[in-house]
């Protein structure tokens, strides 16, 4: 039943026959994403991973912030929350703590998660909060028209960096690992099978899991930097991605025309916030 999306015939797909109609809010289609943006591919991978995981769909809640990626929560036919800019993680923190049966997924963009929400990201990683964070990195603020952000490579142009960006970017896997995340991977939107497998691996795990998806933004980032279409960017990912599991995250910086280190950087076990608290406070209170 679940053919890989790359093999699907997407011509003449009606709302009734879309192969993922059960997990999409078809009454919200068409979506807002541009042609050849990578967000749809990432979402397809997520839906495939969710199906394969066997996790009951009613137990999954998705929380997004603001931006192009922030619209994911509104398109998934799950309990879903579209919150304020940068605040998906603290909202999701309350949700997962109040209802531990939920598998809570934060699905948002790089500006949302590591700029305005950066403080929440590092503290949630420190706590090993039981959240799976999917951070789509397109190197720009796409929805507002292509401003520089916390991931914009040095020298890349943006509407707020007309002479090129000379403001050092974050390396998201390095940041996540330094702050205490227990599962960290990065793929581009070209790596559909590997991305889906990472999502499938991370979904049933506990703790703070981060998957970064490098994603083409043809309309804002690519156009401003004369990088071609979304397809050209996928070709770039094809030629310049290096898959290196267990790579030193310090070597995973992304430069303007450099290599993109992909793979699983980290996969360890550490008690989550809730487990750590319950065990230790429980002992002091005498337990049940």
């Amino acid at each position: 039943m679940n053919k890989p999306a790359a093999q699907l015939d997407v011509t003449n797909v009606s709302q009734d026959t879309h192969p993922m109609a059960d997990l999409l809010r078809m009454d919200r289609m068409p979506h807002i994403w541009c042609s050849s943006c990578g967000l749809g591919t990432g979402l397809t991978c997520f839906i495939m991973a969710l199906r394969d995981s066997g996790i009951p769909e009613d137990d999954v809640a998705v929380v997004s912030g603001i931006g192009c990626t922030g619209r994911v929560a509104g398109y998934l036919n799950l309990d879903s929350f579209h919150t304020t800019h940068g605040r998906a993680i603290p909202f999701a923190t309350g949700l997962t703590l109040a209802n531990p049966k939920l598998r809570v997924v934060v699905y948002s963009g790089d500006g949302d998660i590591v700029a305005i929400g950066g403080n929440h990201f590092i503290h949630s990683a420190r706590r090993n909060m039981d959240l799976m964070v999917i951070c789509v990195n397109n190197f720009t603020y796409g929805m507002t028209g292509g401003q520089a952000g916390p991931t914009t490579p040095i020298s890349a142009k943006a509407t707020t960096a007309p002479y090129g960006n000379y403001d050092y970017p974050f390396n998201i896997p390095y940041l996540a690992i330094a702050a205490g995340a227990t599962y960290v991977a990065r793929w581009t939107s070209l790596h559909m099978r590997r991305l889906k497998n990472s999502m499938l691996e991370a979904l049933p795990k506990k703790g703070f899991r981060v998957i970064e998806i490098i994603c083409p933004c043809p309309t804002a980032y690519a156009r401003k930097n004369r990088l071609g279409t979304g397809l050209d960017l996928l070709k770039y990912y094809h030629d310049n991605s290096i898959i290196k599991h267990g790579a030193d995250p310090r070597e995973a910086n992304i430069d303007m025309n450099g290599k993109v280190v992909c793979g699983k950087f980290l996969d360890i076990e550490r008690p989550t916030f809730r487990d750590f608290q319950t065990e230790n406070i429980g002992k002091q209170l005498g337990g049940e």
Binding site: A73, D79, F81
Partner: protein, 384 residues
């Protein structure tokens, strides 16, 4: 650990902050996300002791932005939740107070007011956040805000705030102040039988039939929680009955009117005041929180001098009891508004008096309470 430790029925000697925490416990709070800030910190400290005793969770978040969001998330996860703050922390919570209002999320935010602006007077009293309570988040909305004037009342009002939050599906503010938060007095915690606690009103509809913003004749709607199979979506964007974003003027009008109407059309059910000596009053003092206790003393002093003065003590400050001001104005000489700010609620009083009585205010920037003698002088002036 268990529910038997939730309600500390009996007589206690408590600070206002601790009484507030016990109010949250009594109301069924299971989640507290907060950030320490004077003079509200003792509420968080007490909740960190108390919540684990009943299987709830206390979490110290990284800032007040996160605190406010965490209590919204917890509420949609199915737990009653609260936070507390003061001064600059209240400003940081404004962003997602707005989200709570638009998502229509029951939760409670306690502000133990100190002197401002900015860092201001961390350890000293103020009441200058009253207009921020009403208008602090961007956009048009209505809010419910209570103003306790004693440790007993902050216990009672916190329970009441939780109840109103559930009935009206909205964040409710408890606007305390440093004096009430830090004073220690007798607090009676009632038995379970004596205590009114409003449980969450979950929908009886089945998945597929439920709409998050489907209002009844009283402008109210039912809740669900995540994980129950409803597959609901909610957003901070302007939305329709389904919770789906709709970006146009028509739905904006529909949504904003609902957010206002659910409070304003029910305001006579929400508003609580204390009426003191109003029958023969020619001068009416309007006051709330700690100021109302000083004003009460001033009223007694003026009565000793033969002035016919009464007091309308605001227990609910928002929604504002405009109809009470309109009813009193034509039959009295003047209102005297006593509050620890440069004139916030006094402007509301003046607006609704509409020239039908005199309006006096006693501006005070905070840091200490008014002197009763100064208020008594103002009452005498107003009676002339």
């Amino acid at each position: 650990m268990g529910e038997e430790r939730r309600l500390l029925t009996g007589e206690h000697f408590l600070t206002g902050d601790h009484a507030c925490a016990e109010g949250g416990m009594a109301a069924g709070c299971m989640f507290f996300g907060g950030y320490p800030i004077t003079p509200s910190t003792e509420i968080a400290e007490r909740m960190s002791v108390r919540l684990p005793q009943v299987g709830g969770i206390f979490i110290q978040m990284e800032d007040e932005l996160a605190s406010m969001n965490s209590i919204l998330g917890a509420s949609w996860g199915g737990w009653k939740s609260m936070t507390c703050t003061s001064g600059p922390g209240f400003s940081l919570m404004m962003e997602n107070l707005g989200l709570g209002i638009v998502l229509e999320t029951p939760t409670v935010l306690v502000n133990i007011q100190r002197g401002g602006p900015s860092t201001g007077l961390p350890t000293l009293v103020g009441q200058a956040d009253m207009m921020q309570a009403k208008w602090g988040s961007h956009g048009d909305y209505e809010i419910i805000a209570l103003a306790p004037n004693s440790p007993q009342e902050i216990f009672d009002h916190t329970v009441k705030a939780f109840n109103l939050a559930e009935i009206y599906r909205t964040p409710v503010l408890v606007m305390g102040d440093e004096s009430v938060g830090h004073m220690t007095e007798k607090v009676v915690i009632p038995s379970k039988e004596e205590l009114e606690v409003v449980p969450r009103r979950y929908t009886k509809k089945k998945p597929g039939e439920y709409l998050p913003y489907d209002y009844d004749e009283n402008e109210l709607s039912d809740m669900v929680k995540a994980g129950d199979g409803y597959r609901f979506h909610i957003t901070g964007l302007t939305h329709d009955e389904r919770g789906y974003p709709v970006i146009n003027a028509e739905k904006q009008d529909w949504m904003v009117r609902h957010l206002r109407d659910k409070i304003l059309k029910n305001k006579k059910k929400i508003i609580e005041v204390e009426r003191i000596n109003l029958d023969d009053a020619e001068v009416v003092v309007i006051s709330y929180g700690i100021s109302s206790r000083v004003a009460h003393r001033a009223m007694d002093l003026a009565r000793e001098d033969g002035i016919k003065v009464g007091m309308l003590r605001l227990i609910t400050v928002w929604p504002f009891p405009d109809y009470m001001i309109k009813e009193l104005a034509p039959r009295i000489k003047a209102f005297v508004t006593v509050e620890l700010n440069m004139g916030q609620i006094s402007l509301e009083v003046e607006r609704h008096t509409a020239g039908k009585a005199g309006c006096y205010s006693l501006p005070h920037a905070g840091g200490e309470v008014h002197k009763p003698e100064d208020i008594a002088e103002a009452i005498k002036e107003a009676a002339k």
